[in-house]
């Protein structure tokens, strides 16, 4: 068995302890994000109207937040390996820009239909991905460069469309661009299924991913078909990003920092980092959404603002302590 960086073998008791703490932490986040809102509701004792609010309004929204956060974090982890760059995140190749442009284009045609906007976002995301695919064979660095340039292009297209968009469409366009969990047309079972599927695919690829981290040559020497792996990764990460963006708009930060945070906590083995990211990203977005609903209640804040405000201090603190 090859020697891999940052393994946890030989530390089983500590691992158990950590597992227990994490489970407790997850339960706490779940309880908090369900209970928080305009009024604190105890999820265990709510009845009548409170129960209606809890299970028909807060719960579906939290499931959406969990799935979207998890998908974004997974996509971030994959892009970081794929591009060999710690600054990579789901939107680095311009997918957020093309999805936003698609969404706004949909709004221009049908200002009343949230569904058309979602379809526009999905089509836009895939259009962006297709453009990047053209450069996939040039290797990670050139692909990254192409992606960044494409991102600038999509940003320009978006600005053009926004300038032409009638006033009535602007509210929805801006809410969507800052991340909007309040209204989503995506069926929740579909999102959860996608979350599970993405995680399963990730786990299947996790050993190859670990080897790719050692460098392309090493990975090839160890029997990994690097070219194919890259294609699979690009497709997988892009599909997941497109889905997350379509469901909830563009929510920044999670895809960049959650994978790093999980590496700081669990080492760099992907069979740990990927599930941890899928869960951790989901939990962070749940918590951020709870804060967005509660801080200036009964009014609401855009959730994209809060993901960074909660996540950045945690990440920086861990970075300082580990170095």
């Amino acid at each position: 068995m090859p020697v891999l960086p940052g393994g946890i073998s030989g530390r089983e008791p500590a691992g158990m302890m950590r597992g227990l703490l994490l489970t407790l932490g997850c339960a706490l986040v779940l309880w908090l994000s369900l209970g928080m809102g305009e009024h604190w509701l105890n999820p265990l004792t709510a009845e009548g109207q409170d129960a209606l609010i809890l299970w028909q309004l807060r719960a579906p929204r939290l499931i959406l937040a969990f799935a979207v956060g998890g998908l974004l974090a997974l996509a971030g982890a994959w892009f970081q390996v794929l591009l060999g760059n710690p600054l990579a995140e789901p939107y680095v190749l311009g997918v957020a820009g093309s999805a936003s442009a698609g969404a706004v284009a949909g709004l221009m045609g049908w200002p009343d239909s949230a569904l058309v906007m979602s379809i526009g976002a999905f089509v836009g995301a895939w259009l962006g991905i297709a453009c990047v695919m053209f450069f996939a064979h040039l290797g990670p660095n050139r692909m990254l460069l192409a992606g960044v340039v494409l991102a600038a292009f999509w940003a320009a297209v978006l600005a053009l469309l926004l300038a032409l968009l009638p006033e009535q469409g602007l509210f929805r366009a801006f809410a969507w661009m800052m991340g909007d969990l309040g209204q989503s047309d995506m069926p929740l079972p579909l999102l959860l299924a996608a979350w599970l599927l993405a995680l399963a695919c990730g786990l299947l690829l996790s050993r190859s991913l670990d080897m790719l981290l050692l460098g392309e040559r090493h990975a090839e020497a160890l029997g990994v078909n690097v070219h194919r792996l890259r294609r699979q990764l690009l497709l997988l990460a892009s599909a997941v990003t497109a889905l997350a963006v379509t469901a909830a708009g563009t929510i920044g930060f999670i895809g960049l920092v959650i994978p790093h945070l999980m590496r700081l906590l669990f080492g760099s083995l992907h069979r740990l980092v990927l599930p941890a990211s899928a869960v951790g990203g989901g939990l962070l977005l749940m918590l951020a959404d709870a804060a967005a609903r509660s801080l200036i209640a009964p009014a609401e804040l855009p959730v994209g603002v809060l993901t960074a405000m909660i996540g950045v201090p945690v990440f920086l603190l861990l970075l300082l302590r580990r170095s």
Binding site: L52, R58, D112, E167, F171, G182, Q183, P298, A299
Partner: protein
């Protein structure tokens, strides 16, 4: 000393030449000018000026984001009435010798003030005074029959769900009509809220500005959450969102809806 004072008095009393080429660069300004019979003085408008119908034939010189200075100057305006000096193009227009007047009324008193100001500007003072007089009487009547504390939710926008906060003009209209804006405590102009907050606020009346949006869909949506007893009123948003001469009409419609809720309560 006396002669000096007299001189000043005479100087200020010399009537300023009435403007007959005015750029009306906000929808409510167009409506005001037409309401005081000064429609002929309107030289140019912006894209969102659509009332009365005659205004649509006037040349357009910009939209709510920007004034096209060249197009504006081509109309040889003497005065431009704008919402704010911050709109790109306005200061440029001023440098080119066009007199800039701002009109952004935030209350009925300010609307009346601006109507009189425009009357003065276009030499339609008599018409403006008559209109203000008549509107004051209607406002007085509204104050006299104010409904008592009907709980109102104003659905400013359905997706994202937005309402009128305590700093909005709409909020003051609701209170004027005798309603209680359930989100009046939020010190913002148009806050985002969620369904949960509306549910908790227990509104008796939901006002939906009918803006290309399907009333039946919104009714079904809110009845799903709030039960069948909640009442609805659809009001043309142009009547409520434009601080112009038709605002009083919007307020009257709003009050009719409030009174209907009250009498339904009394019947019970």
């Amino acid at each position: 000393m006396r002669a000096w004072l007299l001189g000043i008095l005479l100087l200020t009393a010399v009537p300023v030449q009435a403007a007959d080429r005015v750029l009306a660069l906000a929808p409510h300004v167009c409506e005001m000018l037409y309401a005081i019979d000064a429609g002929a003085a309107v030289a140019g408008v912006v894209d969102y000026c659509d009332f009365p119908a005659a205004v649509q034939r006037k040349p357009h010189v910009g939209n709510y984001r920007r004034i096209n200075v060249e197009a504006a100057l081509r109309l040889h305006p003497q005065v431009a009435v704008v919402l704010s000096r911050q709109i790109p193009g306005v200061t440029r227009l001023e440098h080119m010798g066009v007199r800039i007047v701002t009109s952004d009324p935030r209350s009925f008193e300010e609307i009346f003030h601006d109507l009189l100001m425009l009357g003065e500007l276009t030499n339609h003072r008599r018409q403006a005074e008559a209109l203000v007089q008549q509107q004051r009487m209607r406002l007085q009547q509204i104050r006299q029959q104010a409904a008592d504390n009907v709980r109102v939710f104003y659905e400013l926008w359905p997706d994202p769900l937005m309402t009128a906060g305590g700093k909005s003009f709409i909020h003051s209209l609701i209170e004027l009509g005798g309603g209680h804006n359930v989100f009046g405590d939020i010190a913002l102009e148009s806050p985002h809220v969620n369904v949960e907050a509306v549910l908790r606020a227990e509104p008796e009346l939901i006002i939906i500005p009918l803006e290309r949006r399907r009333l039946t869909d919104r009714k079904r949506f809110w009845q799903h959450w709030l039960g069948p007893s909640v009442r609805f009123a659809a009001i043309d948003p142009d009547l409520l969102h434009r601080p112009g001469p038709r605002l009083i009409e919007g307020l009257e419609q709003l009050q009719q809806a409030l009174l209907a809720v009250r009498s339904a309560k009394e019947l019970k």
